[in-house]
Amino acid sequence: MPQNETIQDLGLDEYKYDFVTPSKPVFQTQKGLSEEVVRQISAHKEEPEWMLEFRLKALRIYQSKPMPAWGGDLSGLEAVLDEIYYYVRPQDRMGHSWDEVPQEIKDTFEKLGIPEAERKILAGVGAQYESEMVYHSLRKEWEERGVIFDSIEDGLRNHPELFREHFATIVPPQDNKFAAMNSAVWSGGSFVYIPKGVKLETPLQAYFRVNQERMGQFERTLIIVDEGANAHYIEGCTAPVYSTESFHSGVIEIVLKRNARFRYTTIQNWSNNMYNLVTQRAMVHEGAHMEWLDGNLGSKLTMKYPSCYLVGEGAHGEILSIAYAGTGQHQDTGGKVVHVAPRTTSSIVSKSISKGHGRASYRGLLKVHEGAHQARSNVECDALLINDTSRTDTYPYIEIEEHDANVGHEASVSKIGEEQLFYLTSRGIPEDEAMAMIVRGFIEPIAKELPLEYAVELNRLIELEMEGSVG
């Protein structure tokens, strides 16, 4: 089939981040997860006693919870979890200026284009390498206005009260097995506070890189957006390709106070040997507006459902999700919106592309609790199948307990239409280019939301996977 051959050339499967930097960690725990490992992590971070207690309690919860029986195939995961390193410390202390970062780590991020992006326009940049943030900086003007953008460890050290008030309140360790695991061994991630009324004009960005083989990354991010504040946070993730599997399990907690606005953008481009099981949740208070923009392009298996809990009257939640699954990949992604307060509104738009033997699943929950009067929600899922070996699934849970709610869900599955293709080729556009145009058109509603003008490397990522031209 010529059509399928053409699509092979779109460059969708090219992975540009497959390079390893030779580096020696200053410390790492022994393989596998145990109480000893948890104590070592806590000791290395010189944490207060309550945090060690919290970690140990979470470890017990993790051990007591069964593996999820739904979602992707986790049957090979247990063997992986026994073989990985849960904590790898790449350097002694975090840099605040680029010069302080060790050369080999610097090389890695240079290759990923981090400082370049920062120079351009970002309000702040963080970079995590293995288990620790190796670099964090924030523009002076924002620092002066009280914005905090730091590693999560520095958040705990320097802002203990604010930290403790919110930490693990949005995603408690009991929430799910991997949230419990993260709570036991978390390391790295960002701590963000946007003060009342402060509107960040450019995004904050964090970059996550796994370099070493058999490594587990467990970052933890806590973001507090105070009343009327407005900000945008972007994260990107990459790793080299190894023959053994790696593991990433982050927990992202976000609080939006009254009338705050926040957008969280993820461009996940892990290598195809990565299990990526992430819990992301925002607590959205009165009149606040939360947006998740979730791009899943890499990993072997991703299970990630960014969620909005609309707990204040008039709160709004939005999830834009795009997934690409090539051969050897299963993207089990989607979103969750829970309407608790009256007059809350939400929308979920999901687009997925399955190619080769890839499988993209949408899994979502839309829940309207009793008392959430006049809640409005709309869910739209579109799937594009490239080959006859590709697979797509849609599992939308819709649970409505309030009669004056108004919710809708729609999903469709299609292949690249012969008619579309015929139309374009009859205009003199070569078939391969026409294919690329159709794919671009399919993801355009979400792609246009990406902050392309801000983040150069994000732009490159999405172009590589989705908009790559034919050679």
Binding site: L385, I386, I400, E401, H403, V407, A411
Partner: protein, 447 residues
Amino acid sequence: MTTATVMEGVTDALNAAAVARVSADEPAWLRERRDHAREVYERTPMPTTRLEEWRYTDLRRKLDFAPLKLSAAPTAPDRFEWWPMRLREAMAQDREASGHLVIIDGRVVHADVAAELAGKGVVLMSLHEAVQKHEDLVREYLATRAVPPEEGKFAALNAALWNDGIFLLVPRGVRLDLPVRVTRWYSESGVAYFSRTLIVAETASQVSFVDEVLSDDFAAQTLTSSAVEVFALDGAKVQYVAVQRLGRGGFYQSVQRTLAERDATLDTLNVALGGTTTRVDLNARLLGPGSNSDMLGLYFGDADQHFDFNTSQDHAAPNAGSDLLYKGALDGRSRAAFRGIIRVHKGAQRTDAYQKIRNILLSPEARADSLPNLEIEADDVKCSHGATVGELDAEAKFYLMSRGMSRTQAERLVVLGFLGEVLSRLPLGGVSEKVTRVIQEKLKHHV
């Protein structure tokens, strides 16, 4: 057989001795099938809400097996004048038919087929009679390919304990212009009824089948369990309609499987109006190229009624279509759950499969859960699904009120219009009118 869960649901009435009693006079193969089904039943754990298929119906709260007895009704009257008044009324409201079958308390008391059709080989009779007169056919199709006991706890229990049922055979090329009408009446409280329906429509035949279930309110919980197996062979056209009008206290449980072979059309309509709990498991299998299934559903709930529909559209062949539309209106504290899945198996190219669920909530305490799933393993397909939950159409209501209708009158009319869309998709003499009447009756309680 090592854990306590293994014997779940085995009670004084639902056990090996009961199976031995119902199968006493049956041929050996059937006795063996029942025994096997009983074994499957005993080792299958009771479904819990941890199972996706049972997420929205908690059997521990909804059904108590312990006190359920098997029917002890003496041989039911076979004379029309002695039948319950409501049964006779329901039959009188029906228009003409190709044949009738009447079941009272689980026993077939009457069956007739137009002489001309009987002459062409159409068979409508009790399953017991069919076991004797059409043994080979029954043996081939009963609880084998469509609803074997391995399908689940209820399918196994039914296959072990069914006490009567319906057998309909439409021979090759025979087309029935008028529907076959079945009317059932249940009178005993605290009883578990098990019945089966087996419909075989041979190549290029055509038939409509309407099955109406009635009862008064039950003093104690009563289970009516049914297993429905419908085979549409090459080019056959079959309509299967179930109208559930049980009284309160009824637990209506129905496992339905429709198998459509090459170029066959096999449409279903499930109307659920009565009972306290309704659970329908409908699986449409598109086995032959060019086959098609329209799957319609309609329910109206009030008070504490609970509806749970679990449907699947299995596309195993190319060029087949399926189109599902379920609509419900929920008043009082009633609750409806819909879980449906479209599965397009490998090689089922050029599938057109659709699924649409619409609920309106008429009261603050009503609740609706929808879970429409897609699993697609072929690339050249058109599949979509949609689900909505909302209030009554405010504009339509406003329009009617501006024409002088009261709010209540307007709401009743809008509900009728909303549900009417389903009935208009499957026009079948008398069914639409009858269902509309029952909904109107129920709507009188909506204020």
